[in-house]
């Protein structure tokens, strides 16, 4: 395989007047990868995708595709294509005409256009009878598939997605997430997906980039972003989390004003003393019946109990702050509000976020 990256961004800056929307973005995306860029609104992810597609010019930096600079190529000459949040289907054309639009622009003959459109309808699991339907006759999920088929008809090197599922209801979104992942596997294309939803990112992506205020905070696989975030922002963005202020000594021993730990408990030695956050996800916090069953323990009154469907969440008001515990429904406990509870977790389930770095 080619060793140089497929799509690479170097020092990409986009500013609007005094406001820097994107601040020196470096990013490499591999061929055939499902890459997701996640961030809250205002993080610059939409600006980034507009630059990648060619709908905006960058202020400085460069974008290369297969080692060719593409940042000064206009959108209609780039071998990339985007599925819009609004889908941007052409309401005055039928489903078939929508799908054939890019082929027609390339002067493909009508027979071959039609054949390709029908092929794509099959690929997207839409009946071939949809070819002559009007867009207004299609449901939300069907429109989604038409938009995908149209983008695939273009046969892009990279397919970009700008939150295409955000307007759909929960069930349909879940179905389409899986279909999209499946489609990615079947077409082998490079997908670059933008979303503000962590769940969407986790379900589909090979790798995830987390953006915050115009910068990329972390790029990694979903597991690592979830289990080993580099900052408080990433940790909190990626779902429920418990964070404790701690100091880790050079030998890995943890000291804290708020946590009591069993003697001899050590993190993987950092080599030098560091202040930071000790993170543990709620599913790794357990109820301690005997205080020494866990490496770290704390106790306090139960603040609340919430049913999350398959899981139950407990919040306990400890001296270390509110601690969130999640248990599967089958491990539910009978508790009453205000009851003092002791909870704890083990060092192997924690992750240390060095705040200095």
């Amino acid at each position: 395989m080619n060793s140089s990256p497929f799509l690479s961004l170097r020092g990409v800056v986009k500013s609007f007047g005094n406001f820097t929307a994107l601040d020196r973005i470096d990013l490499d995306i591999k061929e055939g990868e499902f890459f997701t860029i996640v961030g809250p609104s205002g993080s610059g992810k939409s600006t980034l995708i507009r630059l990648l597609v060619g709908m905006d010019d960058l202020t400085s930096g460069e974008i290369r595709l297969r080692d060719q600079r593409i940042d000064d190529t206009p959108a209609n000459k780039r071998p990339t294509c985007m599925v819009f949040q609004s889908l941007a289907l052409f309401p005055h054309m039928t489903v078939g005409q929508n799908i054939e639009f890019p082929l027609k622009l390339r002067k493909e003959v009508p027979d071959r256009r039609r054949a390709r459109a029908l092929e794509l309808l099959d690929l997207l699991r839409l009946p071939q009878s949809y070819y002559d339907k009007r867009i207004s006759q299609c449901s939300g999920g069907e429109r989604q598939r038409v938009a995908l088929a149209r983008a695939l008809a273009f046969d892009p090197e990279i397919l970009f997605f700008d939150e295409p599922l955000s307007a759909l209801d929960y069930r349909l979104r879940k179905t389409l997430e899986k279909e999209l992942k499946d489609l990615h596997a079947r077409t082998g294309k490079t997908f670059v997906y933008i979303t503000h939803s962590l769940e969407e990112a986790m379900v589909m992506s090979d790798r995830i980039a987390i953006m915050k205020r115009g910068k990329i905070e972390q790029i990694s696989v979903a597991d690592e972003i979830y289990g080993a975030p580099v900052s408080r922002f990433v940790a909190e963005f990626m779902g429920e989390v418990n964070l404790f202020d701690v100091t880790v000594a050079a030998d890995g021993s943890v000291s804290s004003d708020v946590l009591s730990s069993r003697s001899g408990v050590k993190l993987v030695p950092a080599g030098e003393e560091a202040r930071g956050l000790l993170m543990v996800r709620p599913e790794y916090v357990g109820f301690a019946d005997t205080a020494d069953a866990f490496d770290f323990t704390m106790s306090g009154p139960l603040h609340g109990e919430y049913a999350l469907g398959s899981r139950i969440q407990y919040e306990i008001e400890t001296p270390a702050g509110m601690v969130t515990v999640e248990k599967l429904r089958e491990d539910r406990r009978t508790v009453s509000e205000g009851e003092t509870m002791t909870v704890g977790f083990n060092v192997e389930n924690t992750h240390f976020i060095d705040e200095a770095s």
Partner: protein, 284 residues
Amino acid sequence: MKSLDQKLGLFSALPVVALLGLAFLAPLVVVALFSIMPAKVFSLANTPDFSAYAVFVQQGYYKSLLWSLGMALASTAILLVVCWPLAYAMAKVFKSFTLVLTIAIVMSLFVSENIRLFGWVLTLMKGGLIEGHFRALTGIGFDSPLYGVPIIVFGLVYVYLPFMLFPLAQGIAMVPDDTRQAAYDLGASRWQVLWQIEIPLAAPGIVVGSLLSFVLAAGALAESKILGGQAVIAIADDIETAFTFGQNWPLGSALSMVLIVIIGTLALFGISKVDLDAIMGRKR
């Protein structure tokens, strides 16, 4: 509940129905009836004949009609081309400036059409604002562009510009930015975006604007009289003459009927092709 709503709706519509019946339909019926009366009568109590329509053909009134329709067509075509960029800018580019522009254009409608046309005469005539100054400064004179067909078409374009511009801007505003960008992203050139996306999606505005300006221009007479110096006679001019100097109501009515039928057919055809609800901002 629904039937009550319907009843209330019909009931509320009564006054306007009565007004339209009386003020719009009744004169139309009278004109239609007069058009099949013998020449120069002033009563409907005569044996109907089609002599007035025969006069329309025999005495060359169809020439005026063709001139009117031709000049209306030319001015509508010019208006489309001239107004598109401005309407586009008003709908998509200018922000608060659109309001300023709208007010400025609407303000021009506050001054009577005839006065504005005479203003152009003073500007363009030999020894007028332009030629007079030019001659005084350079000593070289030139002929006035007044009193010809092109200046009539110019007058029609000038007077009916708002009637094309505003519906067109409305139509262009209905083209979602995303669809334009998507087409561009899928490889379309700017021209292809214009022809395949923007024009079809702005069609309601184009049809309404074209209809308004064509219908108004086809029935216009001030431009050919004032700017054109009657270089050609507009059909509306013939109709006016027939009713006034000619004292021939049946002829005037027949000429009116021909114009009404042509324009009415055109308007119905045009409106049937577009979704008026869309441009009125109602949900489809």
